[in-house]
Symmetry: C4
Subunit: 235 residues, 4 copies
């Protein structure tokens, strides 16, 4: 029996939540879960429809994207995951989707502005849209460079990956992460909903203002601050 | 056995209708039901996913938001519910959601204009959007102040809470109420549908006029007036 | 046993299709089926949720809207149905909904322009939007007058109710009809889909042209003309 | 037993996927699968609702659209399929739908611009919208001419049908094809999703730019180029 059985199961469950949450069409997405001790992660095999995916199909790869265990080719986006796991020590899961509203924003090359408390409950910044990658990055090791594009964009903005757990890659689509794969999946659904709400608000009122700072701070603090009182004690 | 078993069941059922009606994602909402005799209400515990919610998880609190019975922390919005129950003697249930179209309107800080009979079947006014709260209110007891923001906005407009059973809190999201929790849930779904229709009408025709008074009165009266003839005698 | 058992069953099935086709929220709609020989029709009782509706709840009324059989009050829109059945001898069923896109167009007081073959497969005209009713009509016998507003608008435009089987009542919502209740229900779903497509096309290209006459005629003729070749021989 | 049993089954399964993928309302669509050796294809019968469709209802026709086997009339669009099979030797399946966003774009007579990698994963060109057909073509053998309109438009643009597997017919709706009926169905869903994303992006930012060439080439190559590394070896 595989020593990675539990890790594969986690990755399998995370991946299966994506179609349940209407975040992927066909194979347009992938989720992974990391094992920090063994320095490997479990990721969806490339091009396999969710309806046919089985826990044993999940591929185990190391942080250089070499396959450690598995009979199938891992997701074509595996190197992006590998780069993020290598550089960001405190994340446990990563999700990539082409969810409709998030991708539509990515195609505009614009950040999703923070317009309400639904957004502020999850992050205090606009959801960043990294610029489309340079031709050099695209023609080089594209998927690895996608990881660096994400890391560099957060750094340029002075954002912490532990606070801002989501990004759009310009002209491409959303990437999200979190302490667990479950949280990364959750963040993908939050991004999609917030993207839809911001779209609608700006259609109704093109000059609708950004959320004011006191509300941003209040909603963030009550869920994530030192005196957070949202959820249960042991959450 | 809890003396509040029936009240908890009511609150449980009201809460469970919210995901069924597509009004909440994850834990973004809460519903409560009141027992006027005992001066307590039953409300969803904070941060518990609907798929895992059980009737016995429902928390009983008094009108000062003190927990009377329950092992879990009540919703972080509990004080808002408490203020409304304390001030509005004739309501039996309250619902708060971040439903997509309602929240999108709240993010614009605009009332939802009355544009058709679907709206007039339920209220004769635009659905009010209370302005975003002042910094003092936000930094104070935020959730309690949210309740006062709602009460004050209705009073400033001269609206009765028994006729206008729904409001948007600016940059936040919808709150609805009613004689029963069932009616409050119903009102949340009505608000969402009316919000979507008004959005679409204004996209098709930005200068579409407000509904004329005779139609507003007619549709309201046939459902709610002295000679109402909608529904069954015993409704 | 009721002599109207089969008629009630037909009306029941037609009504139950409305939530299945996502055309109604709660009780916002009603369908009826006529028996021309007995000069009665079967219609949904007022205010009864679809989930609770049973075939025996259906109410039988005559063309003056008097209840012939049934323990419940018929739909508040019964008089509108009665007027249409009385004046239009060749219709067998009527449906009224507040479907989202159809109602959004009604709220703009604009016809839905014919922009593609999906529309032309069903009618050769824009879907008419009757103007909002006059104050006299609204304050009079409102539901009966709604029927006359529909009849008069078709007549003013020179449209035959046997070709144009759908209309919007301005600021209100869609009404559809057909040779059978099944066809009337079908028409309600067609209207909603065509309303959504026209909305989207005009958002993408505000000056998108109306469908040209040759295509209108071709698509209408192949389904409804003398040499129609769509469907099966016995359709 | 029919010698076409397997072919009919393939066509049946392809057709049944269309409502599952929310690409058709009622009977607004049809799919076919070809047998190149026998020079026949299997297609949906005309006007039969998907809920009632059975494998044995599928009609077998030759490349001149003559019925070879079957008790029902084939789809009214059969001649369009026949023309495409006759001229394009390497396609195995064809799908026609009136899917909402694809049809909305067709009604604007505009190509769907390539705006992101979701699009580039499937084709390197804008999704072409053939102009509405000339009056002569419409009044002639309309369905056959629809096939020529599609073929001619691709040729005029210098597109290969083996690379560009989808088109809009102006004021009408989408047609897609592929090496198999399964791929043709897949392409219909891709077209609908890409059409929705492009619509949303242009609503958010009307001057959003077209995807740059390096990204177009990269995404196309990794799925379809000589060194493609998407999917499994045996895909």
């Amino acid at each position: 029996m595989s020593e990675f059985k539990e890790l594969k199961q986690q990755a399998y469950e995370g991946n299966m939540r994506l179609p349940e949450l209407d975040l992927v069409l066909f194979t347009f997405g992938n989720a992974s879960a990391v094992d920090r001790e063994r320095e490997v992660f479990a990721i969806k095999p490339s091009g396999v429809p969710y309806a046919e995916l089985k826990p044993e199909d999940i591929v185990i790869v190391d942080f250089d994207a070499n396959v450690v265990e598995g009979n199938m080719r891992p997701s074509s986006d595996t190197e992006t995951h590998a780069v993020l796991y290598k550089h960001w020590e405190h994340i446990g899961g990563i999700v990539h989707t082409h969810s409709t509203y998030g991708t539509a924003w990515a195609q505009t090359q614009q950040d999703i502005p923070i317009m309400g408390t639904t957004h502020a409950d999850h992050l205090t910044q606009d959801i960043p849209c990294a610029p489309p990658m340079s031709d050099e990055m695209i023609k080089g090791d594209y998927e690895e460079q996608t990881g660096y594009q994400i890391i560099n964009d957060l750094e340029d903005r002075g954002f912490s990956y532990e606070e801002v757990e989501m990004i759009l890659v310009g002209n491409h689509a959303p990437f999200t992460w979190g302490k667990t794969i479950k949280k990364a999946v959750y963040n993908s659904a939050v991004l999609e909903e917030v993207a839809k709400m911001a779209y609608l608000s700006l259609q109704i009122r093109p000059d609708a203002p950004r959320l004011k700072d006191t509300l941003i701070q209040k909603h963030w603090e009550r869920k994530h601050g030192d005196g957070a009182y949202y959820g249960q004690e042991n959450d």
